[in-house]
């Protein structure tokens, strides 16, 4: 590992710990977060050149505390100029003694960053910065937007959190579950953003999948009894096990049935399968556990024809019942076509055509094309592939759908 990469890993581990300590001391999440970001930037410039300090967390804490004092003084001076009334100098931060971080600070930070007043894009960006320890520039690169855009988004997110009056404390009862659901959704979005990035051309986006797994592991360590946390982590590991095989050398998408299963990561599959089996045995079922169980079912098939489609179909059916969603029904149609024939799958799709949430969506047409092809209605399949290709905004999907259409002959 290079010095730079080692510094990066260390910073990602330490940044939320230092932020937790500062927020506990001073409150004022917004200012503390800015101070930690500056300390992280300073460290990523200095440590690879000068070596990692003996007590890296103490170093970060000292630098961030100094920045924070500077900020307090500046805003104090501003206030002094504005109102002549004497106001008390804020308490200087306690010395940068290396106080131990509270065990669940990172979790509290996650709850704060995933505040329901924010849009998912803002929750995602703020989580990556405050809990993930990434710099604004890194986050901007991962989401393919200019750094100024990302900086504005993060700063707006922090203002919203402040005006919503959110506190750095563990939510209780129903609110805890509610907030945890948002946290898991944000981690899921971060994972997907990285996972769907085709390898090679967008290395930095791919890193997001690893970052999401790291954060999910952290939440799982703190809430080991929660079945959905374990389910999400298992889903990520099982999905990630196929990462190397999901695209070809030109970045073209390769469907599950055509992937080289020998190259699936057996270690990740074993870890994910064990995690999901244990979670399902002791926790009430939830959507992430079910999706992980479906991924585990696919992962356990040595060849596509060994897939237990009956089980996949049953799992989708339960998922559909506890969280009705047309995309789940679409996936169930694929499984149903395997167990009961393509016409049965097509009949299920026909029910979906009236659902506005999915009627004009490329996925509906892509799945219909696939099932029509299986049913031998090649002309109609080709038409549906072409329609799906026009409707998607993803270039990679479009190429795939066009190639399927071409395979069915000219016309």
């Amino acid at each position: 590992m290079t010095d730079g990469a080692m510094t990066e890993d260390l910073l990602r581990e330490l940044a939320p710990q230092v932020l937790g300590i500062l927020v506990r001391r001073h409150g004022q999440f917004e200012e503390c977060e800015d101070a930690v970001q500056e300390a992280v930037l300073a460290a990523s410039a200095q440590w690879p050149a000068d070596g990692v300090p003996e007590n890296p967390r103490g170093w970060l804490l000292t630098v961030a505390s100094r920045r924070l004092i500077d900020q307090f003084r500046a805003s104090h001076a501003r206030r002094e100029r504005e109102v002549t009334a004497a106001s008390r100098e804020p308490d200087p931060p306690a010395g940068p003694a290396d106080e131990a971080p509270a065990a669940d600070d990172s979790l509290l930070l996650l709850f704060l960053c995933c505040h329901p007043a924010l849009t998912p894009a803002s929750q995602t960006a703020l989580t990556l910065r405050a809990v993930g320890g990434l710099t604004t520039a890194e986050i901007a690169r991962a989401f393919l937007v200019p750094e100024a855009t990302m900086a504005a988004r993060i700063s707006r997110a922090k203002q919203l959190i402040r005006s919503a009056g959110s506190r750095f404390s563990r939510p209780a009862g129903d609110e805890l579950n509610e907030r945890l659901r948002v946290v898991l959704h944000v981690l899921y979005l971060i994972f997907n953003e990285g996972y769907t990035a085709s390898s090679g051309t967008s290395l930095h986006r791919g890193d997001l999948a690893g970052e999401a797994i790291r954060l999910a592991r952290m939440v799982h360590r703190q809430l080991p009894e929660d079945g959905e946390v374990a389910g999400l982590l298992a889903l990520m590991l099982l999905t990630d096990s196929r990462r190397a095989t999901r695209t070809g050398p030109e970045g073209e998408l390769i469907p599950l049935a055509d992937q080289d299963r020998d190259r699936w990561d057996a270690g990740l599959i074993a870890a994910g399968t064990e995690l999901i089996a244990a979670a399902m045995a002791r926790s009430p079922l939830g959507p992430y556990q079910l999706q992980a169980a479906i991924a585990a079912t696919h992962a356990s098939a040595a060849r596509p024809e060994d897939t237990d489609w009956q089980q996949v179909h049953t799992l989708y059916k339960i998922l559909e019942r506890i969280e009705p969603n047309p995309m789940v029904t679409l996936n169930r149609a694929v499984a149903l076509a395997e167990t009961s024939g393509p016409r049965a799958g097509l009949a299920l799709l026909a029910e979906l055509a009236a659902d506005n949430r999915v009627a004009g969506h490329h996925r509906l047409h892509a799945v219909r094309a696939h099932l029509l092809e299986k049913a031998g209605d090649l002309a109609a399949a080709q038409q549906e592939y072409r329609l799906a290709a026009r409707l998607t905004a993803s270039r990679a999907e479009q190429r795939y759908l066009e190639s399927r259409a071409r395979r069915l002959g000219p016309g």
């Binding site: 803002s122 393919l144 855009t149 988004r153 996972y195 490329h362 799906a388 993803s394 999907e397």
Partner: protein
């Protein structure tokens, strides 16, 4: 999700506006830029010069030929655009409605999704 908010300019419509109305549109763009910059949704914006300044390049048999038009005669032309990154198509439409041109009779804003390179399979 990234969208291009496209402003199609119609000189006949624009020239029929009073100077006050034109100034109002200009000020509205300033306010709109401030709004989407502060929200972290702005990627970039450009206004384009009059199409009378454009040339068209065609390479035939390896030889480039440079001519005016033929887009010169069109009633509408591409006047400018905002490239934004926002939460959803609904939000893009909401933002497009805030662009002053959208409220001018005879003009409108086209909301066009930007293709992205990545993807996953539906099946």
């Amino acid at each position: 999700m990234k969208f291009l908010l496209i402003m199609h300019m119609n000189p006949a419509v624009w020239n029929a506006l009073t100077p006050e109305e034109q100034a109002e549109v200009g000020a509205g763009h300033g306010a709109f830029m401030d709004t989407i910059t502060a929200s972290g949704e702005m990627i970039t914006t450009q206004a384009l010069a009059d199409p009378s300044q454009s040339v068209v390049v065609r390479v035939r048999g390896g030889q480039p030929a440079v001519t005016d038009g033929p887009y010169l005669e069109a009633k509408e032309h591409l006047g400018g655009f905002y490239l934004i990154d926002c939460e959803s198509k609904e939000r893009a439409i909401e933002l497009a409605a805030m662009i002053p041109d959208a409220s001018v009779e005879g003009l409108g804003i086209e909301v066009r999704p930007v293709m992205f390179m990545d993807g996953q399979l539906a099946i």
